[in-house]
Amino acid sequence: MLQVRRLGDTAFRIERPAGLDARCLFERARAWPAVIDAVVTERHVAVYFAAATELQDAWLASLAAPSEASLATAREHVIAVVYDGPDLDDVAARAGLRPREVIAAHQSALYEVAMMGFQPGFAYLTGLSARLVLPRRETPRTRVPAGSVAIGGRYAGVYPFASPGGWHLLGRAVGAPLFDSERGARLAVGDRVRFKQEAK
């Protein structure tokens, strides 16, 4: 049985069942009665209710049931990037690469949205080339500009809004914003993402 823990009296944090993709888990959890939201991260599925509640075993069983349908085709997004970030040279030096090799490694990967969080529309992308896995900056920047394309630890990401941040900045995204006030977030958990170099 899945490990279930309370996250206050109106939410539960459930151990993520193995072998099921994030999108499937999100949709299953959101289908439970009275659920108002669900957040899937790499290790957990959190379900949120409007009022204090108890979980039912049948719901948990439905969450972990084997998936009958073949994995639905994941949405794929292409994010155009101008690679002129302030940390490009530093990342190259740390990784023992040339800046153009950093760019090539960053845009050759197919990423997956492992989770959404941190700020509206921010996607934690897994799939980063092992050569680019670096510790975060020792001193976080007090302000990372909106649109910054960054890497931190084993993740890649794009900052939809200006904020403090400790990731390495490789460039800036151009084109459609990652969050807009009419449609919300452009990316969702389970989506695939590619980066494509745009001329400066």
Binding site: R5, D9, V39, Q119, G184, A185
Partner: protein, 267 residues
């Protein structure tokens, strides 16, 4: 219609933007919904009509007749040209100012509430400032808010977990037997408490886990931080407990410097 003349931090809030945490969008509702409901009731509004959350004093002027009310239940009928100042209340962290009909700012992603970090909702995504004008909507109602008391001296109920293993087994006993104080390093994102540090057994949760408003995170220095309505939807600090929903408004209504004690929720 009113225009702001002077304001310290003040922002339009309503019931909040629920159901978008999976997009990284926090709830962003009022710190103390029960106080907002009182102001709305006095104004003749629906319980959760859009009102102004005041983190300090505000002065405004009416440019057309307007009827305003605060969480104390006082009603101010203004004529065009009349000014109104609402000051701080030393016994509250925030106050609420309602207008009959609710403040008519556009709904953004289903809510009028302001999320400053994403410049979403409210008056153009921002806090109110000198010159901001606001008009009244039609969100009337005759909801009577259920009885509610601050109970400023009583312990607040918490639910233990979820990151038990990140702490010594005595963490909940420590949390419920010691007194904490609300520090000035507090905003709508998080409220930092001072007091005896909670000893962590290990490093941060890796990777980040889902969060909830009211979660009591413990930073590396052992200081508890209670996540507020504008919290990041995921986080890496372990969560020792979360404040029960019925006591969350009571916690966030207490001013900086207030003592806080916790007890375990009994259902």
């Amino acid at each position: 219609m009113i225009v702001i003349e002077r304001a310290s931090l003040a922002l339009v809030v309503d019931d909040g933007r629920r159901g978008r945490m999976h997009e990284g969008v926090a709830w962003s509702g009022p710190l103390a919904p029960e106080l907002m409901a009182r102001a709305n009731a006095a104004a003749g509004n629906a319980r959760l009509a859009a009102a102004i959350e005041l983190h300090g004093a505000i002065t405004l002027r009416a440019t057309a007749p307007a009827r305003l009310a605060t969480e104390r239940g006082d009603v101010h009928a203004l004529e065009a040209g009349d000014a109104l100042t609402i000051g701080r209340d030393a016994s509250l962290r925030v106050r609420y100012l309602a207008i009959t009909g609710g403040f008519d700012v556009p709904r953004v992603l289903g809510s009028r509430t302001t999320l400053l970090a994403a410049r979403l909702g409210g008056a153009g995504g921002a806090a109110l400032r000198s010159g901001t004008s606001l008009s009244a909507g039609t969100d009337l109602g005759d909801d009577r808010p259920p009885p509610w008391e601050m109970r400023a001296d009583e312990p607040l109920a918490i639910v233990a977990g979820p990151d038990h293993e990140a702490f010594h087994i005595s963490a909940i006993t420590e949390l419920t037997s010691q007194e904490y104080t609300i520090t000035p390093a507090s905003d709508r994102t998080g409220t930092r408490l001072s007091g005896p540090p909670l000893v962590r057994r290990g490093p941060d949760t890796q990777p980040s886990a889902p969060m909830v408003a009211g979660a009591i995170q413990v930073a590396a220095d052992g200081a508890p931080i209670v996540l507020g309505p504008d919290h990041p939807t995921t986080g890496g600090y372990p969560v020792v407990a979360a404040i029960a929903s019925r006591d969350l408004g009571r916690f966030f209504a207490r001013p900086v410097g207030s003592p806080v004690r916790f007890c375990e929720l009994r259902s």
